[in-house]
Symmetry: C2
Subunit: 325 residues, 2 copies
């Protein structure tokens, strides 16, 4: 399959790494809104201007769109889905139905397959919520995130006056995990599930107490959590907090039996050194499925719920049955 990467930030670079690990995948090029002459790709693949992509219509099987969910993807995915099979990682959960409708109309108009919201959450975590709830209808599921870097929360701290740079880790609380794993189906508040660790570089002479208070009382982002603020030097932030690790847990407990006498726990967890590289790897696997669905004559918008798992693998159905079932 011939893949194009549209948008070349952390996620685009993650996709680029993943393409090289899949022998059935080939990178046509990277399409960027920057001046393509200024972009040196890690793999040596050519960089083109985003507006040149239609010239490559016959050379691309699927476009992996690596833009942000806030403003990029709501425009990019419907626009590209008219002319290309596409995959995106749209992750604003509340806006998925609207995004789906827009992309579906465009993909159907163009006779293309568009898969939205692939990755790990939404993505693999969504799949695990679905599988577990279908098998254990009498139960409850819980999603925990972390320990990992939240870019949105890190950005929110950077907007506080006196802050030069920051990194925020979302951390699941062990007692909550233990309580969920016990099968007791506890009611857990926001504060009981996660805490937030902030590493902050302040301007010289800034009022550290004021910064800490501004962070801890910030509505939506921090006010509902137990939050720690640690001031560090620019060098320390670069040395100890430059990675983008993430991960988390999806746990469902449920009961079966004549009278609910048997308890079961299904747990899925991820421990990721690099959030964008793992997400990029998932996008390439789902891109393979999109190409296959398109080759079979399908069209319209899809999600991970619509993809038969076998379509994700480079192995044939016969190989999968013989070796992986």
């Amino acid at each position: 399959m011939k893949i194009a990467i549209y948008g070349y930030g952390n996620l685009g670079r993650g996709v680029e790494c993943a393409v090289r690990q899949n022998s059935d995948a080939e990178l046509v090029g990277v399409f960027t809104r920057r001046d393509p002459k200024s972009v040196q790709t890690a793999s040596g693949a050519p960089a083109y201007g985003a507006d040149q992509i239609l010239d490559f219509k016959d050379q691309i099987d699927v476009v992996i769109i690596c833009g942000g969910s806030a403003t990029d993807l709501p425009k990019m995915t419907p626009a590209l889905a008219k002319d290309f099979n596409v995959v995106d990682s749209f992750d604003t959960h509340a806006n998925i139905p609207a995004h789906f409708a827009n992309v579906d109309a465009a993909a159907k108009e163009g006779g293309r397959v568009a898969l939205i919201s692939a990755g790990w959450d939404p993505g693999m975590f969504s799949l695990n919520r679905l599988y577990a709830s279908a098998i254990l209808p009498d139960g409850a599921d819980y999603t925990f995130w972390g320990r990992g870097v939240s870019q949105g929360h890190s950005d929110a701290i950077r907007r506080v006056p006196g802050v030069l740079d920051a990194r925020q880790y979302t951390v699941p609380i062990q007692a909550a995990l233990d309580s969920v794993r016990s099968g007791r189906n506890p009611e857990l508040s926001t504060r009981q599930k996660h805490l937030r660790e902030c590493y902050v570089v302040a301007e010289d002479g800034a009022d550290l107490k004021a910064i800490e208070t501004a962070i801890k009382t910030m509505p939506n982002y921090f006010a509902d959590y137990d939050t720690t603020v640690t001031f560090v030097s620019k060098e320390e932030l670069a040395k100890n907090h430059s990675g983008l690790p993430h991960g988390g847990f999806v746990i469902r407990s449920g009961k079966t039996g004549r009278d609910g006498e048997h308890s079961h726990t299904i747990e899925y967890s991820l421990k990721l050194d690099s959030n964008p590289e793992f997400t990029g790897s998932a996008l390439v696997a789902f891109a393979r499925a999109v190409v296959r669905m398109s080759q079979r004559g399908d069209s319209g918008c899809k999600t991970v719920f619509d993809v038969a798992p076998g379509d994700l693998s480079p192995l044939s159905p016969e190989e999968l049955r013989a070796h992986m079932l």
Copy 2:
């Protein structure tokens, strides 16, 4: 969906419990090779003779076949797939390709959908091996079983002279789990991955030393493992070892990045109080998908790899996207 249960042992009873938890499912009846007058179902559903099932052809959407993999399913599933949509839990991994071919021919002849090898292994564990390997091609996966009761190993012990009854637990070894989770992708021998705990009721005056030696040196079943043998009274076996718990772990570690510098671990685990009730619950979810695939005009043999996850859920695609993605 109108479900028939074909075979009424532990697994058939597990399916019966699961049907009651799914409001879109209705149990037409239980079909048994025993005298149906001698069978009292837990839910009060009617019991019929296995040979009566063709009389119900128009009243059944899907038959869940609850027979053994050694001799029952290789005959039952192809025979029933000519006239009914069916689901089975065929679990002899090495014979899956042959079983698939037989069932596929029968289901295509009858224009029916047949799903084989559903449950948790094969089943959910297979799905997790596939998803994880598709996302992280540069990696290795490991499956651990237990702590749980192996019926096959318990039966093998019961065949040792002087043994009245026995229960065998397969136990994953913690050090092996830890080593796999570390991302080191270790090479592990059979002995390093699992140990086997045996609880044995011996005949009065039996040679306990001889029984222990016979178990520990039994080829295929125990000789390649560290095995413990504990003699217990009949009462103790009934009191402490009458359940059928099981579970296990599928773990894949893999690398990404320009030079494999980032490591990722995907882990799926099950902790089950009742193996047959959990398996039965999975069979009912996959039965829903079979009915939907059949309604769309599909036919032939399928496995869990061919089922779009959304088909497992009673929720509509719109509801799934809005609430579970």
